[in-house]
Amino acid sequence: MKIAVCVKQVPDTWAQKRLDPDDKTLDRESVDGVINELDEYAIEEALQLGEATSGEVVVITMGPDKASETVRKALAMGADSAIHVCDAALHGSDALATSLVLAKVIGDRGFDLAIFGSESTDARMSVIPAMVAERLGQAQLTFAGKVDVEGSTVKIRRIAEHGYDEVTASLPAVISVVEKINEPRYPSFKGIMAAKKKPVERLTLAEVGVPADQVGLAAVASAVESFESAPPRAAGTVVTDEGDGGVKIAEYLSSQKFI
């Protein structure tokens, strides 16, 4: 089985994120980049499925030069090779453009499965897997809390508010996984050394075959008009419990008409 796992480099969640005042995009240069935490679950799932089927796992990322650190991490965990789409024209791409590029790479190379994390911790839109599935005309198996492949059939548990749905499709399919579907492995020393020799294919936009006018800031379908820091919350009242803490809160809730 040929498995693609799509990963994204995001700002460290502990870092203070800011928007660039000039082009109103996320300033990625001034903060440390880390692999999107939810993508680690996607990598682990891809590796497990790859191991079970003697398959091949290819990491795909789209992002600036710096994103190669993220690719190395995924390779150190055990993926076989990587594709890094890196082109200045991609800066500022929205979800439509990002999904266009990823779908082109995935579609052209004929993967059986493309696995994503269910969300990135920076943009938090949770839309790329659905967009890629729509573009490829493949089954969308997202928010998976469990994935099983048997022959050419793939079955997942789609985690939902009510519990879960069991969803089945024939390969090829697009999957996204939720946190805690598995326990992502730590790269071993051997893995880290081996990753240095694994093939990483760097592709420009032209090599991917997507016209430059369909991506990046020039092609965005929505535009930020303005942004500002949220007004700080007005300082609240804090009291120390002297045996009446619960009653004090009840009085506050009463004053706010909650009870």
Binding site: K17, E37, L38, A95, L96, S99, T121, R124, M125, S126, V127, A130, M131, A133, E134, R135, L136, G137, Q138, A139, Q140, T142, R157, R158, A160, E161, H162, G163, D165, E166, V167, T168, A169, A173, V178, K180, A221, S222, A223, E225, S226, F227, S229, G236, T237, V238, V239, T240, D241, G245, G246, V247, K248, I249, A250, Y252, L253, Q256, F258, I259
Partner: protein, 316 residues
């Protein structure tokens, strides 16, 4: 007036509160039409009309419930073409955002997710980076597709004349590739859904174990709210992962958020910071969660929370 399409969220014909919020919002943008998909769709018409839907497009076909997400997107695609609405509003839930995603691709239109406000000129406000930055943006291509967070608008009834139009939908191959073979209900309590709830009571590591969550649940029930949890609590297996609030869990924005035994790490605050009122119970006066508290008590949650529960019940 321009038509605004609102995708109605319902379960077996019972309309969700977020849909009434969206209809209320849509009335300030144009003339709302509701779109309702799946088994039981037809029985929602009266409730939708009561909140101002002037037209309800009904796609009532059990086949549409057999596939996740894609059928609703197809229904919207088939309506957007002939009707050219001014915007499409969808609830910002996991399903809603994926429906919006597929729709935006198909009609090649801009998508804004997680809006907390939409102005008459269709400028959408989002609260990003865990509530620290407020962004205003606009769709610049195609028909704006906007997903709106639950609890962003107070629902107000506005009954009026309403036309029902039944649709017959044929699904594309792509939309029917994934098949739901079984639905498993794991939620056995009658509490409101976390993302929609007006009141959320959350517990963290301070709750000490699965058993400790009974104290949290009792307060949630007294207030008619949902239960949430920090990642420390879900990681430890004390409470199911679906209830995690924060960066990698749910984002909630209720009228009232109660945090008990939660320190307030940046990743937790990212999921609750935009709540209207925040009440904190924590025994450490230095806990960062107090920075966002409207009202806080420094104390042991095992004495404060039960006393509060008792007091709430007494005052009802």
């Amino acid at each position: 007036m321009a038509e605004i399409l609102v995708l109605a969220d319902h379960s077996g014909g019972e309309v969700k509160k977020v849909t009434l919020e969206l209809l209320t919002l849509a009335r300030s943008l144009g003339e709302p039409s509701a779109v309702v998909v799946g088994a039981g769709a037809g029985s929602t018409v009266d409730a939708l009309a009561e909140y101002g839907a002037r037209r309800v497009y009904v796609a009532e076909d059990a086949e549409l419930d057999r596939h996740p997400v894609a059928p609703a997107a197809e229904v919207l695609v088939q309506l957007v073409g002939p009707h050219s609405p001014a915007a499409v509003l969808i609830a910002s839930t996991a399903d809603g955002k994926e429906i919006a995603a597929r729709l935006a691709v198909r009609i090649d239109s801009g998508l804004i997710t997680d809006a907390v406000q939409v102005d008459a000129d269709l400028t959408a406000t989002q609260s990003i980076f865990g509530g620290s930055v407020i962004v205003k943006s606009r769709v610049t291509r195609g028909t704006p597709v906007i997903t709106v967070r639950p609890n962003s608008t107070a629902p107000e009834a506005a009954a009026g004349p309403c036309e029902r139009e039944d649709l017959s939908i044929s699904l594309s191959d792509g939309a029917s590739r994934a098949v739901i073979t079984n639905r498993v209900e794991e939620k056995h309590d009658a509490r409101p859904e976390l993302a929609e709830a007006a009141v959320v009571v959350s517990g963290g590591r301070g709750v000490g174990g699965a058993d400790g969550f009974k104290v949290i649940e009792a307060l949630a029930d007294a207030l008619g709210g949902a239960v949430g949890a920090s990642r420390a609590a879900t990681d430890a297996g004390w409470y199911p992962h679906q209830y995690q609030v924060g960066q990698t869990g749910k984002t909630v924005s209720p009228q009232l958020y109660v945090a008990a035994g939660i320190s307030g790490a940046i990743q937790h605050r990212a999921g609750m910071q935009t709540s209207k009122n925040i009440v904190v119970i924590n025994k450490d006066p230095e806990a960062p969660i107090f920075e966002v508290a409207d009202f806080g008590v420094v104390g042991d949650l095992f004495s404060v929370v039960p006393q509060l529960t008792e007091e709430v019940v007494k005052r009802k």
